[in-house]
């Protein structure tokens, strides 16, 4: 009896391994917790010193002098002094050339003010000069200035900011408040199809860098009545306009509130692109997978809005964010919907297959060659063995050499000027590959696998998802090199575990595959005919679930 128990007691090797098996994940989890805490700590910044509030004094010379001291040294800031109408009231306008609309200033501000005549106005009836001044002010604002947006302020900081954005400031002698006139006319490019997301069939529209243009495109091509565009400002030093777009009676109010909360937490000087916004509001910044979708196409944004999702637009970039996103959305293209359902479905299935190939092909190659040659049909195995005869490297190194070369080529291809681009493709792909095979560094099968992988990864419509798969391909190769086919299985399990744990704004990332919601499957791997897609996807918890028409 005692012997039996002793027989079953673990020996010291097993105990050592048990300790190791506990320590390694524990240390890794501690590391991740420490990283996250570090990030949260940097958010506790002290209140930045607000600029001194400086107020206008009412004395025209003094106020203009203050502003001249602040920004007058810039060569593109202009000060224009003139007299109003047939009185002797002086006025000064301050504007930035290039940003403000010159015609508007000339025709509708200066001309109107210079030509105004007070003769027939019953202004001189009022006894007290204060009342008279008020009336003159109101008169100028309501009847003389032929400008759409007019604001009054005596906050000189606000004035300066607005001047530098393209508005015009109007100071009138004797009045405390100054006018801010919206005369912004920035430089923008024409609306053309984005280079990164071309379609064979679909509108050739793309967003531009000007926020007003983008919101205009959304209003023009989207549903008009309940499309809500909420503006706010982000960035401490470089204040940029940010617009949240959603359809009022479809989007989930909790989602909108969550997005607003996260945007409020952004604490950074300057946001050059929506990529910054994406990285600051996403759920899990340590994950490889993007949890926010970005696009340049208005039709994608509008379809997303119709499904109950929310778009975020930022001034200065044509890339618009869409939240929430699931993994299957990253593999979808608007073309699936514009073509008929049979080609749409088949192309989508092809794209899924291409994604799997792009992810697993090199690792399967490594595991079959190095660990499980028995799995390959005999004839193929013999021919592969023949071609791998003189290759000096083990299959992992061979695969790594080729894959890294392809990645370098791809990165270089992004920055090549247009005339050289295609030539480099031919040089890199064909000649170097051929040369490598002839030199005996890699086997031809490897070249085929790598080429297939590269081409498959180009079928993925979203660039961010493409990057993810490229990175994961290397991880899969390492797993395969360690454990062969078992390693590939472990990798798949690990990947699926991660996908299943990840959430994007409350929506499980692996939807609509899981949890099972059969009605969402109509748009997942297949694309059923439009007549059958009667409801909006359940995963976005929309308020109005029946699609109208």
């Amino acid at each position: 009896m005692w012997k039996n128990i002793v027989y079953f007691l673990p020996d010291w090797q097993v105990i050592m391994q048990a300790i190791i098996i506990f320590l390694i994940p524990y240390l890794i989890s501690r590391l991740f917790i420490w990283i996250r805490e570090n990030v949260n700590q940097t958010e506790k910044k002290q209140e930045s010193n607000t600029f001194q509030e400086s107020r206008a004094t009412g004395d025209l010379n003094l106020d203009v002098k203050i502003i001249r001291e602040k920004i007058g040294h810039n060569s593109d800031v202009h000060f224009r002094e003139f007299i109003i109408g047939n009185t002797d009231i002086r006025a000064v306008i301050i504007f930035v050339e290039g940003l403000s609309d010159k015609d508007l200033i000339d025709q509708f501000i200066m001309k109107s003010l210079m030509n105004v005549s007070f003769k027939n106005k019953p202004l001189f009836v009022y006894k007290s000069s204060l009342e008279r001044e008020d009336k003159i002010f109101e008169f100028i604002k309501n009847q003389v200035l032929h400008i759409g947006e007019v604001k009054e302020t005596n906050n000189l900081n606000e004035l300066t900011t607005k001047i530098l954005k393209g508005s015009t400031a109007l100071f009138i002698e004797g009045f405390l408040d100054a006018f801010i006139l919206e005369t912004v006319k920035g430089k923008t490019r024409s609306i053309e199809e984005p280079i990164t997301e071309p379609l064979v069939r679909g509108p050739r529209l793309g967003f531009t860098e000007l926020l007003s243009d983008n919101t205009a495109i959304l209003r023009q091509h989207g549903e008009n009545e309940s499309l809500s565009l909420i503006k706010s400002q982000v960035g401490k030093r470089g204040k940029k306009d940010l617009v949240i777009a959603y359809i009022n009676d479809i989007a989930d109010p909790d989602l909108i509130q969550e997005i607003k909360n996260r945007l409020l937490k952004i604490d950074i000087d300057y946001l050059p692109e929506t990529g910054y916004v994406e990285q600051l509001i996403e759920d899990n910044f340590l994950s490889i997978f993007p949890q926010v979708q970005n696009t340049e196409r208005p039709d994608r944004v509008i379809s997303a809005l119709m499904e109950g999702r929310v778009a975020i637009l930022l001034d200065g970039t044509p890339f618009v964010l869409i939240v929430p996103v699931t993994f299957s959305m990253l593999l979808q293209s608007p073309e699936d919907y514009y073509e008929r359902w049979i080609p749409g479905t088949l192309l989508r299935l092809l794209r899924f297959l291409a994604a799997i190939i792009a992810l697993l092909a090199p690792s399967l190659y490594i595991s079959f060659i190095s660990f499980q040659p028995a799995l390959i049909p005999t004839k193929l195995a013999i021919s592969i063995a023949g071609t791998r005869e003189g290759v000096p490297f083990p299959s992992l190194i061979e695969a790594l050499i080729m894959e890294i070369s392809i990645e370098i080529l791809r990165e270089a291809g992004l920055r090549l000027p247009k005339p050289i681009g295609p030539a480099m493709g031919i040089v890199g792909g064909l000649i170097i590959g051929e040369a490598a095979v002839n030199a005996g560094i890699v086997s031809p099968i490897m070249v085929i696998v790598v080429a297939l992988t590269a081409i498959s990864s180009f079928t993925i419509p979203q660039y961010s998802a493409g990057i993810t798969l490229r990175i994961l391909r290397f991880v899969a190769m390492f797993f395969a090199a360690l454990f062969g086919l078992y390693g590939v299985i472990l990798f798949i399990l690990f990947l699926c575990s991660h996908l299943v744990i990840l959430k994007s704004f409350g929506v499980p990332y692996a939807s609509p595959a899981v949890p099972y919601k059969l009605s969402d499957w109509k748009d997942f791997m297949v694309r059923v005919p439009i007549m059958m897609m009667k409801r909006r996807p359940k995963l976005t918890k929309t308020k109005d679930s029946i699609r109208k028409g």
Partner: protein
């Protein structure tokens, strides 16, 4: 440890969890172990009967759990049996779950070692497997249920495909005569086949997590029915291909079935590795949920967070997995566990159910 309202799973998810827990090692060994006891080709009847018995046991467990909404077995058995007995019982069940996890991991490592990776040491096979299980468990029951929803269709489709492809070897005569030696041999194998369906005991925990506990009976019935169909089909194909004499001499008859046929011209030639890929995923599912059940039990006994116990149980399960020295000892462990299951999950829930009904009846009487 109170279950937060975020951790709710839906009814189909509960059924999927039960199915995944049931479909584990049994797939590979069921034909042999059942034929060893029954010795006639009527094993498929035994399999069906075993499934029905397990369904009844599952329903009893669900009914017991439904008496205590929102509480798992570890929390409410103290109400039934008093503090100390309840504690002891919970500890026993936790110990069972730990042993089952260890058994699953070890059998997976053995099979992988034998078929896929001949010279890799067992610990190198087990460690990454357990780490990934740990990662999934930290995500909570929701993530586990979602993962199972991914694994289950893949498993079923592949296995069915593979079983269909073996129709060439199938000879209906191997299944005859039906009930040739009478009905008695069928009953002899009942214990083995019932144990192949061990899995509904997870419902003792799951009902507390369900968003609609009143549908739990449907979940457990469907969750047991799918493996029932699966096992019947498997047994019929395997015995039809090998006949009972052939089945008894093979350790892993299902794998041998896959090895025995060839479909020339297809991409792969030898499919058993492919089958093993799928089977490993299935064992992963089984291991993960029993790991989580054990950690949950300990967390609710000691009133701490589940995460803490998930990490702590990792070395414990590893030691349990490494304890059997040979594969025969592994099978002996399986037998021991089988006996425990019958007592713990067959007899005990019934007794507890009767006790709680009696107690509640008494309370009603005293109120009146």
């Amino acid at each position: 440890m109170i279950i937060s309202s975020n951790d709710k799973i839906s009814t189909p998810q509960a059924a999927v969890v039960v199915t995944n827990f049931i479909l584990a090692t049994g797939i590979l060994t069921l034909p042999r172990t059942s034929v060893e006891k029954v010795k006639t080709p009527d094993v498929w009847l035994t399999v069906i009967l075993g499934g029905i018995i397990m369904m009844i046991a599952g329903v009893i467990m669900v009914k017991l759990s439904q008496q205590f909404p929102g509480k798992t077995f570890f929390q409410y058995n103290q109400e039934i049996l008093g503090k100390w007995f309840g504690w002891l019982l919970s500890l026993l069940i936790i110990f069972y779950f730990i042993s089952i996890s260890g058994y699953q991991v070890r059998s997976m490592a053995e099979v992988t070692n034998f078929f896929l990776l001949e010279s890799t040491p067992i610990w190198a096979i087990i460690m990454p497997f357990m780490w990934i299980g740990l990662y999934l468990n930290i995500g909570g029951i929701n993530s586990i249920a979602r993962m199972f929803e991914i694994i289950l269709p893949i498993t079923i489709v592949f296995f069915l495909l593979v079983l269909f492809m073996s129709y060439k070897l199938f000879e209906i005569d191997n299944l005859r005569p039906v009930l040739g030696s009478g009905f008695l041999p069928v009953l002899k194998g009942l214990k083995t086949t019932t144990l192949a369906y061990s899995g509904p005991e997870i419902m003792l925990l799951l009902v507390a997590f369900m968003s609609q506990p009143n549908k739990a009976i449907k979940a457990v019935l469907i969750g047991t029915f799918i493996p029932l169909l699966f096992y019947v089909f498997l047994v019929i194909m395997v015995i039809g291909a090998f006949s009972i004499n052939g089945v008894v001499v093979r350790t892993w008859p299902s794998i041998d079935l896959i090895r025995s046929f060839e479909i020339p011209g297809l991409i792969f030639e030898r499919y058993e590795s492919l089958l093993l890929v799928i089977w490993i995923m299935q064992i992963f599912a089984s291991f993960t949920i029993s790991f989580y059940a054990a950690a949950l039990g300990l967390a609710q006994l000691f009133d701490k967070k589940v995460k803490f116990f998930i990490y702590c149980l990792l070395p414990v399960i590893y030691i349990v997995a490494m304890t059997p020295h040979t594969i025969n000892e592994l099978f002996k462990l399986e037998d021991v566990l089988g006996n425990i299951i019958i007592i713990l999950f067959g007899v005990l829930p019934l007794i507890l159910f009767i006790i709680i009904k009696w107690k509640r009846g008494k309370v009603d009487e005293t109120i009146q």
